[in-house]
Amino acid sequence: MATANVLNCESTATIESNGKNIVIDCKIKNLYYGKFRAVRDSHIPVEQGQITAFIGPSGCGKSTALRCLNRMNDLVRGFRFEGHVHFRGKDIYHRNVDPVAVRRYIGMVFQQPNPFAMSIYNNVAFGLRLNRVKDDIPERVENALRGAALWDEVKDKLKNSGLSLSGGQQQRLCIARAIATEPSVLLMDEPCSALDPIATRRIEELMTELKEKYTIAVVTHNLQQAQRVADKTAFMYVDTTEGARTGYLVEYEDTNQLFADPKEEYTKQYIRGEFS
């Protein structure tokens, strides 16, 4: 796996910018699905040990931008990317890099809880087996479930199907599955949008706990959520001039700063709730 090694070496060559550790430096110049330009001109750095939120109206490309960070977009037919995404200083879009390897270091949690139709235990162990982990699988599964604040609820029924859990539990199971292999970064694509307010609150608490160990990038359409959990916030907007629908980054700031004193007019309008 020569390609995997490109990412594997424990590089400390994170980009120093204003004295901050940038784990993923995402610079999207143009991003196309076929002929459709979905995102343009967006530079979003993701800092080590912080939660970076992507907010913006529907269709602004925030999910698309997030999915660039672990090359999930490569699964879409006609996807084309111009720009670069540096992960610990290395371009994950370099032609020698295997997208599969990227996804092993940068995990993902999706909008809809998507546990596999297998036991809770096997769901969490799935990634471990992919990575050919042989030792301590039960311990690792337990740790991942504890990390996702699910252990106490499922420890007596690890053999039950992952689908037997409630929506919020399923989402925490998916988080456990993603963190079992201890990826460097966790991407979360609107992880709470299918959940009720109580389950949402639990996931948010969990995110702030996970931040101790993992760098997180999260897409959310919930402004309060971004304010509650995120350290940095990127606001994206959709450019509809000339019949296009191209998303781009309007403003990237410390969350407090962005919500208290937005610089751009669109940001001001959006956080005042004038459009969504």
Binding site: L75, V100, A117
Partner: protein
């Protein structure tokens, strides 16, 4: 008596209850659907009743001995269908093994973005065209193409590996292997179409989950997509097996119509369906009942296979859908 609501509704509202014509139409439609579904059920029962009735004298006369007997001699009035039962199951299992492997592989190939959507459609249609070829054409093709083509290889295998029971006879013409091979092609479209549906109904979000964890395409297919669609794939195999059990014309032409119980792939054999097809033209009064008895056994086998398949599928889907074990 329906309660009328008119009194409580403002007079300027356009809402009105369904007219008596609407109600009558609805009732007629419902009545007709009931009638047609019951007619289907009655038809099945009627066919069963007639066959069982015609078979009754033979059942009385030959009893269980008919199932275990190995001779079929109309002149001496000796009838037994054990070789046919054996041949039916053996040929169907062989066809299922070959056709199942290829059918499921094709289904995976045509659903997992190996090809562009256009090519996928073309391939899918070509595979499904296999189902449009008449059975008798398969039979002819088997006789004039398949048998001559496999004969040298088959006989070479027999010469060198003859000590293995599967190869203990030589292939002199029609036999179990060509029959099973052609049968496997005939069940392939069923298996591939049904398992294709099962595989493509795996939610996209599960595929994403697998790829998001860093699974390769192979790992996603083997680890997530096939296990998730296993129930449907199993259903496809049961359907294919059912088709193979009942297939008649091609087998009557290819299997050799010889009452033998042999493990050898190259030996001629017989199946229940082929037996019926070959014997009904000259059947006298007594033989007619015997054939009906054989038909009854064939129906019992297919019914049993379907019931068993459904039972296993139900169990599997219960296990997968959650709510404890």
């Amino acid at each position: 008596m329906a309660i009328t609501l008119e009194g409580d509704v403002p007079t300027d509202s356009v809402a009105s209850p369904p007219s008596s014509l609407d109600v009558a139409g609805d009732r007629t439609f419902r009545g007709m659907t009931y009638m047609f579904s019951w007619m289907t059920i009655f038809l099945v029962l009627y066919i069963l009743y007639e066959i069982a009735g015609k078979a009754a004298p033979a059942v009385k006369e030959y009893g269980v001995g008919f199932i275990t007997g190995t001779t079929w001699d109309a002149n001496r009035g000796e009838f037994g269908v054990f070789p046919e039962i054996w041949g039916t199951l053996y040929s169907a299992i062989l066809a299922l093994m070959i056709g199942g492997f290829f059918g499921v592989s094709i289904a995976i190939f045509l659903t997992q973005d190996f090809l562009s959507p256009k090519l996928e459609l073309v391939f899918k249609n070509i595979v499904e065209l296999l189902a449009a070829i008449p059975s008798v054409v398969y039979g002819l093709w088997g006789i004039y193409v398949v048998i001559p083509a496999i004969r040298p290889t088959a006989n070479w295998i027999h010469e060198h590996l003859g000590w293995i029971p599967f190869f203990e006879t030589s292939l002199s013409g029609p036999g179990m292997l060509p029959a099973a091979m052609v049968l496997s092609i005939m069940v392939l479209p069923t298996i591939s179409a049904v398992s294709r549906d099962a595989i493509s109904s795996v939610p996209h979000k599960l595929k994403e989950a697998a790829f998001g964890l860093g699974a390769t395409r192979w790992e996603a297919i083997v680890g997530v997509i096939i296990p998730t669609s296993a129930t449907g794939i199993f259903g496809a195999l049961v359907l294919g097996f059912g088709r193979a059990l009942g297939e008649t014309m091609a087998l009557a032409m290819l299997v050799g119509n010889s009452n033998q119980v042999s493990l050898s792939l190259f030996s001629p054999a017989n199946t229940l369906a082929a037996l019926l097809a070959n014997n009904f033209p000259e059947a006298g009064k007594q033989e007619e009942g015997v054939l009906m008895y054989a038909a009854l056994i064939l129906m019992a086998i297919t019914l049993l296979v379907n019931l068993l398949g459904t039972a296993i599928m139900n169990r599997a889907s219960r296990r997968l859908s959650g709510v404890a074990r």
